[in-house]
């Protein structure tokens, strides 16, 4: 049965779906109060940023003679916002649709989803952690629930400081692994094999790292309080800058509540040379994986050359936030038209 049919037959369901409009209104008023500019970023783009772990949707832009140019659906508003920061807009945010292909068969993904990104100029990324705390509290209050968020039988007091733990400390605490030692591929293989994971010669370091992260670290995140996990290994920097005092780590954090990964923040990389090199590596990786490839966004490299201000920013999955506030465990239950209603199996 389609969602609209279920709503017609069971009007008590409307309440759960109206959480979406309330959450989005609360986010807008939170940032409007802080004098952030709200930006509309393009969804149809010619050159995505190169990110090998994402599958991009490809389409074709036609001119009057029907001559085609490859076009893509945006996977996030990030580079558009960064260009405007270079132009001087200052603190800004965007609430927009983003698209990531192959992300089906999951309770926490929909290939078309709503994303929130906000950026602060001349700000350290730890300030964004504070933003996350105050934003979620503010949404909860708007929904009339005060300080306490109730999700799947658990209560979270959002007025309290969240747990903050570095990836290095988390590895030591929950997996009994010294990450500095694990950085060496041969040691990583030995540690994984000793733990009973299968280790093959084709395995990348990131696979070994994530196998421990997903099996031994993630289940502990956001269990009793929301958790911020910060300082990712340098090879997982994505568009984040390296930690100036220890470049083996990147200024990147994620936050979790009740096992849901809700946001991904970077101290933004502003060095154009390093960004260009990373895009080239990501493009190679896309080819190796046999994924859709494209000419990456060179205009973004230009923007960095002109000088983007030091800044920090975060991407938050709004649909997952809504799962949390609507107390549902499947992302489809937050959407009037989830992917399963639109495409027959």
């Amino acid at each position: 049965m389609k969602t609209w049919q279920r709503l017609k037959r069971n009007p008590t369901l409307w309440k759960q779906y109206f959480v979406r409009e309330q959450v989005i209104k609360a986010i807008r008023s939170f940032f409007d109060e802080k004098k952030f500019h709200e930006i509309e970023t393009p969804i149809l783009i010619g050159n995505p940023p190169a990110e090998s772990y994402l599958d991009v949707f490809q389409t074709t832009l036609l001119d009057r003679t029907r001559k085609g140019t490859p076009a893509y659906l945006s996977t996030s508003p990030e580079v558009a916002l960064k260009k405007l920061m270079t132009a001087g807009i200052g603190n800004c945010y965007s609430i927009t649709k983003s698209f990531r292909n192959t992300e089906m068969q999951s309770n926490t993904h929909n290939p078309e989803f709503t994303i929130l990104e906000w950026y602060r100029v001349n700000t350290q990324y730890k300030t964004i952690m504070d933003d996350c705390e105050t934003l979620l509290l503010s949404i909860n209050k708007t929904l009339g629930d005060g300080n306490i968020l109730k999700y799947q039988g658990k209560s979270f007091d959002l007025s309290k400081k969240w747990e903050r733990i570095s990836v290095k400390d988390a590895f030591l605490r929950w997996a009994n692994v010294d990450l500095l030692e694990f950085f060496e591929m041969e040691k990583a293989k030995k540690i994984c094999a000793k733990k009973g994971y299968t280790v093959a010669s084709k395995n990348t370091w990131e696979e070994l790292y994530n196998q421990i992260y997903l099996n031994e670290i993630e289940p502990h995140l956001g269990v009793d309080t929301p958790t911020v996990i910060y300082e990712f290994p340098g090879s997982m920097a994505a568009l984040a800058r390296k930690k100036p005092s220890d470049p083996r780590f990147a200024e990147r954090f994620e936050f979790y509540i009740a096992g849901l990964e809700l946001g991904d923040c970077y101290g933004e990389l502003t060095n154009w040379k390093e960004q260009e090199m990373r895009f080239q590596e990501e493009l190679k990786e896309l080819k190796r994986l046999g994924k859709t490839t494209y000419d990456y966004d060179n205009d973004f490299i230009h923007a960095l050359k002109e000088g983007m201000p030091e800044s920090s920013g975060i991407a938050v999955g709004i649909d997952r936030l809504i799962m949390l506030f609507a107390n549902v465990t499947n992302i489809a239950d937050t959407m009037f038209f989830p992917i399963g209603d639109l495409f027959e199996k």
Binding site: E51, Y53, E103, G196, E207, N210, Q211, S235, A238
Partner: protein, 167 residues
């Protein structure tokens, strides 16, 4: 035993995990970032009935356990298990209580159930899990896994009329 890849995972199949037979209750794909893709599973131990999560590297090979479905009659409880008998061969098996759990409330002596059996080794049979014939609100009879409780919504394949998943 046959090796399968994570790409072949289906709900309900039986695999070896940490040298013990387990059933895949659920699975989903996870892409945590650069250079890696994973499949998160919920695995139920056939020895202890315990359910745990494990995340496999995408493409990792896993031993699938072959199982056979036998129509069996429930006879009586005995020790830590319930005794079933194959109506054709008169073979008897004991299904551990841990695997059946609360479902025993819906079991009736002399009723026929579908029992999944995995031929382990010379030691004999290990019961891999069981299906139960239930009556739907519509009056139709259908076989469902034992973890389905009364009143639960289930999805049914309209072509085969068989159980697909919890709705």
């Amino acid at each position: 035993m046959a090796s399968i890849s994570t790409a072949d995972f289906k709900k309900g199949i039986f695999v070896t995990f940490k040298n013990e037979p387990h059933q895949i209750m659920e699975f989903q794909h996870v892409n945590p970032g650069k250079g890696s893709a994973f499949v998160r599973t919920r695995l139920k131990s056939l020895k202890t009935g315990k359910v745990q999560e494990f995340t496999y590297k995408s493409g990792e090979s896993v031993e699938e356990l072959p199982v056979e479905t036998h129509e069996m009659q429930y006879l009586y409880p005995e020790g830590d298990g319930y005794v079933f008998m194959d109506n054709r061969t008169y073979d008897q098996v004991t299904v551990p209580k841990l695997l059946i759990g609360d479902f025993v409330r819906f079991m009736k002596e002399n009723d026929t159930y579908q029992i999944l059996i995995h031929e382990e080794d010379a030691k004999g049979n290990t019961v891999g899990g069981a299906m139960k014939a239930v009556t739907l609100e519509t009056g139709a009879e259908i076989n469902v896994p034992l973890f389905i409780k009364q009143g639960e919504m289930i999805a049914i394949d309209p072509e085969t009329g068989s159980y697909v998943e919890r709705a």
